[in-house]
Symmetry: C2
Subunit: 208 residues, 2 copies
Amino acid sequence: MRVAVLGGTGSFGGALAKRLAAAGEQVVIGSRDAGRAHAAAAEIGGRAAGAANEDAVEGVDLAVLAVKADGALETARAVANALGGTPLLSVASVIEFRKGVGMLPDRDPRSLAERIQDVVAAPVAAGLHSIAAVSLDEEPPDEDALVCGDDARAKEAALELAAKVVAGRALDAGPLASARALEGLTAVIVNLNRRYKAHAGIRVTGVA
Amino acid sequence: MRVAVLGGTGSFGGALAKRLAAAGEQVVIGSRDAGRAHAAAAEIGGRAAGAANEDAVEGVDLAVLAVKADGALETARAVANALGGTPLLSVASVIEFRKGVGMLPDRDPRSLAERIQDVVAAPVAAGLHSIAAVSLDEEPPDEDALVCGDDARAKEAALELAAKVVAGRALDAGPLASARALEGLTAVIVNLNRRYKAHAGIRVTGVA
């Protein structure tokens, strides 16, 4: 599987790229700054490559939009043309911090992933929201990865990638609108981490 | 712990009341129809009692609002006076079904629990959204229960109740706004159940 990780110089994107490379996948790290992308790829080594975001998506099976939530729409717009019909996986979540209260899920009634689908022709899937960068560092975490999407091909590619990232299962959580809940889970997990001094993740019970 | 289960004649409320009674708690089943509440309590037996919703909340430590989402606000308004400052636990989720697509989380940017807080003076907590009625039937399910709230006393009471319902842990997921994500999880779980012919639940990993 050839995968572009846009925002692969960030903490989650970098950890994901490293994990995928360790799983034997061909990774192209994308960044607004091609130089930083090359440096991040060199650090991973092996077959990992680096390129400007628009060039990174060239010829990949799946592009992961791993830039932070506040830059996700802008980056999606920037790569829309280069992407064409290549599936795009949205992994970011909007979180609001309120002092003394904790982390709050986004107030927007539509998920970031749905808003990203508005600005690209490529089919968008969403997932991996419950997985922390730090959990990817050493080995595939003992967690499940939830993925959703309206386009069967994009969701299939996202599930294939997710299965390589976690030791648990990659599970199909339904339509792209499920991203409202999956993105909201990130705030829940950060709250759990703060409350219990933990690195929380999700396992789905009852699914054989 | 003395607990009122409003909507205790419904499938989730009934299963919850039965589970709490089996755990030795004193349960008062509430219904709009006192006769139906009495009948449901008689079916559970033991110390379980039945009453009209407004009477059921009298002298309890916690009231669970277990009516379906479309009746939740109306029932909350109806019991608001009788409730006074007694903590209220919201467990319902709004789910939209779209044919050929599956279950969608609510489009309302605010959770049902936050909207319930608008119509009662009592402090509101939310939780148990990932637990299915059928999972409560035989014994405490091997799942965790996530609870959230802005009021410490209401959240504490809700966590205490949740710990009696599941074999896993009752976990504090942060402020009441976390209910946006927790309620959305119900749609995700129903999608997982349909996709994998399962009875899905949630376990949080990485929390000691």
